[in-house]
């Protein structure tokens, strides 16, 4: 069943792969340790793609498939934006665009005790961290970092939230800073929070700035670096008139 790899595996890096593509053949890579990320699957001696996207490689040994989705699959330690759906005695039910609703324990806040349980109305936007994603269970979230500090997590007030794809939010988070944000930041002052689940929150003093930034980011998804810069320059020139 294992189809022979006709091309050398290294040539597939940074190429588009589709589900079923044999990405790596382990039989000729003995004495090596590799780490597989999302979208890859090991079947005996072959590693095949399970999702369509770009095969990425990071030195020394990490492989994963980079793709863009409208739906988010939760992974531990991801920073996401969630919307409060319901509040129960022990947990808040939070929508993080995943296949299931996530649970946010009422005590998962900095210095959280039964006495100072926060009150969130339905529809509150929260910046959160995914803690656990066990199969068959709802993912668990937290409003603190690993050391129990609040560290910017918590409710986001005002501003505007836009729904994008996971690919775009990853692009916005990439380092060096995404050209759109960089170019916009030179002229405008705004505040953003990007969740890996494809939600971006933008805030600024003027609603006009929020709209400009939000639309510039939405339009940048399929553009190259230079195209992004040109787009932002044109946009800024238009609004300065």
């Amino acid at each position: 069943m294992a189809a022979k790899v006709s091309v050398s595996p290294t040539s597939l890096i940074d190429q588009i792969v589709v589900p079923g593509d044999v990405v790596l053949d382990l039989s000729n890579m003995t004495n090596q340790t590799i780490k597989l990320g999302s979208g890859l699957h090991q079947d005996n001696d072959v590693i095949s793609a399970m999702r369509a996207g770009k095969l990425s490689f990071c030195k020394p040994n990490k492989y994963w498939v980079e793709s863009s989705h409208k739906r988010y699959i939760p992974r531990p330690e991801d920073h996401v934006l969630g919307i409060v759906v319901d509040s129960k005695t022990d947990n808040f039910w939070v929508d993080i665009k995943g296949p299931q609703l996530a649970l946010l324990p009422v005590l998962a806040f900095e210095g959280g005790t039964q006495r100072n349980i926060p009150k969130f109305e339905v529809g509150t936007l929260l910046y959160l961290r995914v803690v656990k994603t066990n199969t068959g269970m709802n993912p668990e979230l937290s409003c603190t970092d690993a050391s129990g500090k609040a560290a910017l997590f918590g409710p986001l007030r005002d501003g505007f939230m836009l729904e994008t794809s996971t690919g775009l939010s990853r692009m916005l988070l990439s380092s060096p800073t995404c050209p759109v944000i960089e170019a916009l930041g030179k002229k405008l002052s705004f505040e953003i929070a990007v969740g890996l689940n494809g939600r971006v929150w933008v805030n600024s003093a003027a609603p006009r700035t929020v709209i400009i930034v939000a639309n510039a980011m939405m339009n940048s998804e399929s553009l190259s670096v230079t195209q992004q810069r040109i787009m932002v320059e044109k946009l800024l020139a238009k609004i300065s008139d």
Binding site: V85, W93, D95, L101, G123, R157, P207, I211, N215
Partner: protein, 438 residues
């Protein structure tokens, strides 16, 4: 239940607050002005009567089909027009498969009212046989992506599909004059529907207790707005339908303002639809012209080629399209008759030389052979006469290549025949000479 909860789209407090505050300063979330329309693109499918409309993110597909049915008893000489909506769960997680939801029914009703009750489509022309057979036109609207303002997009999709729809031509005939003959598209050009005017729907969203009016609301705005009104108008400024759902009351002046806005926009949207349909029709007719010359070449008929050229010209002149089509049909009929008569001639003509073929199995050949044996020279002369007649016929036909081939064949057969005669005579003469010598 929980799974469905996770799939629902939710509006955050931040968004609803922001949309309202931004609208206070006349700003919209997607950067448009209050009365700006999103970008409208119309595409057409390969078949007649299919359209795909994109209004910003909203994506709607329209498909028109027709069927022959018995008319309603109270309207024996009118066809019917019905609208069906399909809200795919792919478009929006809140759409559930199966039974049409409230929004699906409402959308269908608004479009139905705009199209049918304003008598935009001429239903009387859909009658084939009064009281017995009429065309029932069905419009299917598939929502492929919901980016807000489904009504407007679906309405445009329905119009575009109706305008490009062609129904097969049919005539009443038979012994008792009650039989309906449907002509396939190869035989007769399918007919378009008669559309008197284009009723175009415009949806307005109301915010801040009806004080702020917004045209073409997006998905987010639809979730935030307190009221909605759909106005269906045509380019002449006639109001075809109004739908005002939602509990929020709206001032009379606001409604009048919306009506004015709608009728000022209607002309532009009508123009876009008409231009797209025209471009599509032109492309269709050009494709048809490309297809026909190959047929013409193989069948060899001068007059029909000329017809096609004329047809091409007519297709370019879109305004006179229908009249010219009828004209072409009439023309087509006559060349077909001509062709059939010529074909008969051609078969006879082909039969001519085959009679002279000694190896053919035709009945005439034997008798001719007998006659040949009896009087050789005279018949060869008649054969040459026949040959000239035949070639004359061929030239009349106008198929030069075929004429050359046939004449070539004739020549070959004749020479063969003459050779045969010569050899016989040659064989006889020396005998006589020998006899004389001896």
């Amino acid at each position: 239940m929980e799974g469905r909860l996770a799939n629902m789209w939710r509006l955050t407090v931040n968004e609803s607050k922001f949309v309202e505050t931004a609208l206070q300063s006349e700003l919209r979330v997607d950067g448009r002005g209050l009365y700006d329309y999103r970008k409208l693109t119309i595409k057409f499918g390969k078949e007649y009567g299919s359209s795909e409309v994109q209004l910003g993110q909203t994506h709607v597909m329209g498909f028109v089909t027709a069927q022959m049915v018995q008319p309603y008893k109270d309207r024996p000489n009118e066809g019917s027009l019905s609208i069906f909506t399909e809200f795919s769960p792919m478009a929006d997680p809140s759409f559930e498969p199966g039974r049409p939801g409230e929004s699906a029914v409402e959308l269908g009703r608004i479009i139905d009212r705009g199209l049918r009750e304003s008598r935009a489509v001429d239903t009387e022309s859909l009658c084939i046989l009064a009281g017995k057979m009429v065309w029932s036109v069905r419009i299917d609207l598939h929502i492929l992506d919901n980016g807000g303002n489904l009504v407007d997009a679906a309405n445009i999709a329905a119009l575009a599909a109706l305008m490009t729809f062609r129904r097969p031509d049919c005539t009443v005939g038979g012994e008792n004059g009650q039989e309906v003959i449907i002509h396939p598209p190869e035989e007769r050009e399918p007919l378009p529907l008669i559309i008197h005017h284009l009723p175009i729907a415009f949806t307005f969203g109301f915010f801040n207790k009806g004080n702020i009016v917004v045209m073409d609301p997006t998905y987010v705005e639809e979730a935030v707005m307190c009221g909605r009104m759909t106005v269906t108008v045509n380019a002449n400024g006639d109001i075809c339908a109004i739908q005002k759902p939602g509990e929020e009351g709206v001032n009379q002046s606001v409604i009048l303002h919306c009506l004015r806005l709608a009728s000022s926009r209607a002309a532009a949207t009508t123009k876009i639809i008409r231009e797209e349909v025209e471009a599509y029709n032109r492309e269709r007719s050009l494709q048809k012209v490309k297809r026909h010359p190959t047929l013409a070449k193989s069948e060899v008929s001068g007059p029909t080629v000329a017809v096609k050229e004329e047809y091409r010209k007519s297709s370019d002149q879109e305004k006179a399209a229908e009249i010219s089509r009828e004209h072409v049909e009439r023309l087509k009929l006559s060349p077909e008759e001509l062709r059939s008569s010529k074909e008969q001639e051609a078969t006879n003509f082909k039969g001519g030389p085959s009679n002279w073929d000694p190896y053919s199995e035709a009945m005439d050949v034997d008798s001719l052979k007998v006659s040949l044996a009896s009087e050789g020279d005279s018949i060869t002369k008649s054969s040459s006469k026949k040959k000239t007649n035949g070639s004359g016929n061929a030239q009349k036909d106008g198929g030069e290549i075929s004429v050359e081939e046939v004449t070539g064949d004739l020549g070959k057969k004749d020479t063969k025949h003459k050779d045969g005669e010569m050899t016989l005579k040659d064989a006889v003469k020396p005998k006589k000479k020998r006899k004389n010598k001896t």
